[in-house]
C-alpha cells in the first residue's frame, strides 16, 4: 500500500464504521417518525440546528415578557392586571422549559444566557416593535400569540423529544394568551368610536409583522428543507402563514374591524390566500438590529440581569453554607 499523507484524527472525510451505523440508526428513527432523545447519537448539524432554534425560541419568550410587562401597571382594571401578570409569568416559564430542552443538547445555561446578553443570539424580531397603547396588548395577544401558536402546534411533534415535550406544555398554556388578546380587542371594538379606532390602529400596525413571524417565503428560506427532512419542522413557512391568515380573516369579522389588506382573498383556483406583499427589507433590517426597540430590549434584559446579581450571589452563598452545616 502506497504511503499517504497522514490525516488528523477526526478530519477524515470517510465516516468510520461506527459513525455509519449510528447515522443509519438515526435515519431509521427519523424515518419511523420516532423521536431522538438526548443521549442518542445525532449528526452534528442536527444538534447545532436544534440548539440554535430552541435557544432562540427561549430568548424570544424571555424578551417577549417586556412589551407586556410594560403595561401591567397601566392595565385598565385589576382583572386585566392579574391576567397580564399571569401571561408574563407564563412567558418566563416557557423560556425556562425551552432553555432546559436546549441544554440537553450539551450547551450550558450560562452560555445560552450569555449569548443573549452579549447580543450574539437572535430572538423573534416581532419583540423589537413597541407596544404603544393598551390596544396593542389586544393585538399582540390575538395576532402575535396567534401566529406563535400556529408555528408552535406542529413543533409539538418535532423529532427531538425534549423540544416536542416542552412545546406540548407551552401550547397548552398559550391558548389563553390569544383569547385574552382577542377579548381586549372585542371590548374596545364595542366601546366608543375612539376605542374602536384604537383597536383598528393596533391591528393595522401588528398585521404585517405577525405575518412575517413565519419567516421568509419558502423559495427564500434555504434551511427549511433540511429542517423538514429532519422532521423538526412539519410545515413550510408559507403553509403556516396561509393557515394563519385564513383564520384571522374570519376572526376579524367578529370584531367588526378589518385587516389592513384590501385585496386579501382566497383564490379558489390556486386554493390559497392571496395577501399583500410583505416588506421583507424591513424584516431583515429589524433582524439586523435596526428595529424600533432592539437596543432598548437588550439593554433592559442586561439591566434586569445586573440587578438580579445580588440575589443569585446570596442564594449561592446560602446554599454553600447549608451544605457545609449538613456535612458537619
Amino acid at each position: 500500500m502506497a504511503p499517504t499523507t497522514p490525516q488528523e484524527p477526526g478530519l477524515s472525510a470517510v465516516p468510520s464504521y461506527e459513525e455509519q451505523q449510528s447515522q443509519s440508526r438515526f435515519d431509521a428513527l427519523i424515518g419511523d417518525d420516532s423521536r431522538i432523545e438526548p443521549r442518542d447519537w445525532m449528526p452534528e448539524p442536527y444538534r447545532k440546528t436544534l440548539t440554535r432554534q430552541i435557544s432562540q425560541h427561549a430568548h424570544s419568550e424571555i424578551i417577549g415578557m417586556q412589551p407586556e410587562a410594560n403595561w401591567i401597571t397601566r392595565a385598565p382594571s385589576l382583572k386585566r392586571k392579574s391576567i397580564l401578570m399571569a401571561k408574563v409569568q407564563d412567558e418566563a416559564g416557557h423560556g425556562l422549559y425551552l432553555y432546559s430542552a436546549a441544554e440537553t443538547l450539551g450547551t450550558e445555561r450560562d452560555e445560552l444566557n450569555d449569548q443573549l446578553l452579549t447580543g450574539r443570539a437572535k430572538y423573534s424580531s416581532i419583540f423589537n416593535y413597541t407596544a404603544r397603547n393598551w390596544a396593542d396588548m389586544g393585538a399582540i395577544g390575538w395576532l402575535v400569540d396567534g401566529a406563535a401558536i400556529a408555528n408552535q402546534v406542529p413543533l409539538c411533534r418535532a423529532s427531538y423529544g425534549p423540544y416536542g415535550r416542552a412545546m406540548v406544555r407551552v401550547c397548552k398554556e398559550e391558548s389563553f394568551h390569544q383569547r385574552q388578546g382577542f377579548e381586549i380587542l372585542l371590548s374596545l371594538s364595542r366601546g366608543t368610536e375612539k376605542q374602536k379606532q384604537m383597536a383598528q390602529d393596533a391591528i393595522n400596525r401588528f398585521y404585517e409583522p405577525s405575518l412575517m413571524m413565519f419567516g421568509p417565503p419558502d423559495d427564500q428560506s434555504p434551511n427549511s428543507a433540511q429542517s423538514m427532512a429532519w422532521k423538526i419542522k412539519r410545515f413550510s413557512n408559507d403553509e403556516l402563514r396561509q393557515r394563519f391568515v385564513g383564520m384571522i380573516a374570519e376572526q376579524v369579522k367578529v370584531l367588526g374591524l378589518t385587516l389592513p389588506d384590501e385585496n386579501l382573498h382566497f383564490d379558489e383556483e390556486k386554493k390559497q390566500w392571496i395577501h399583500k406583499d410583505l416588506n421583507w427589507d424591513e424584516f431583515m433590517n429589524v433582524i439586523k438590529g435596526n428595529g424600533p426597540a432592539n437596543a432598548q430590549r437588550l439593554e433592559r434584559r442586561r439591566e434586569a440581569h445586573r440587578e438580579g446579581a445580588w440575589v443569585r450571589e446570596a442564594a449561592t452563598a446560602y446554599a454553600a453554607k447549608q451544605e457545609q452545616s449538613e456535612v458537619a
Binding site: 416559564g93 432546559s100 441544554e103 443569585r312 449561592t316
Partner: protein, 96 residues
C-alpha cells in the same frame, strides 16, 4: 459579561392527583434543594397541575446506556407467552 452561577440541575416530578404516580415534568437550575422545590412549584404547577412534587439532582439519577439498549432490553424479546394475547385456544371462553 455575566457571572457564571453553575447552579446544579434538578429533575422535577409531579403527582397530578392522589392515587397517581409522580411523573417527570422537566428540569430546572437551583442553588439548593429548598429553592429547587420552590422553583419547581412556580414553574411546573402554575395551574393546579400537582398535589405533590419531587426534585432530584440530575447527577443522582442512574441511567441505562442508550448505546447498549438493544442488548440491555433483549430478554423479553421473543417471549410473547408473557402476554395474555399469546393464548388463542381459549378465545371466546367467557370471563377468562
Amino acid at each position: 459579561m455575566s457571572q457564571k452561577s453553575n447552579w446544579p440541575l434538578w429533575e422535577v416530578f409531579v403527582r397530578s392527583s392522589r392515587g397517581l404516580s409522580h411523573v417527570h415534568a422537566g428540569s430546572l437550575h437551583a442553588p439548593d434543594k429548598e429553592m429547587a422545590l420552590r422553583n419547581a412549584r412556580d414553574l411546573y404547577t402554575r395551574r393546579n397541575e400537582g398535589v405533590s412534587l419531587w426534585v432530584v439532582r440530575s447527577t443522582d439519577i442512574i441511567t441505562s446506556d442508550p448505546d447498549s439498549k438493544d442488548a440491555f432490553f433483549e430478554s423479553p424479546q421473543g417471549k410473547d407467552y408473557r402476554h395474555a394475547t399469546y393464548y388463542k385456544a381459549s378465545e371466546g371462553v367467557k370471563h377468562l
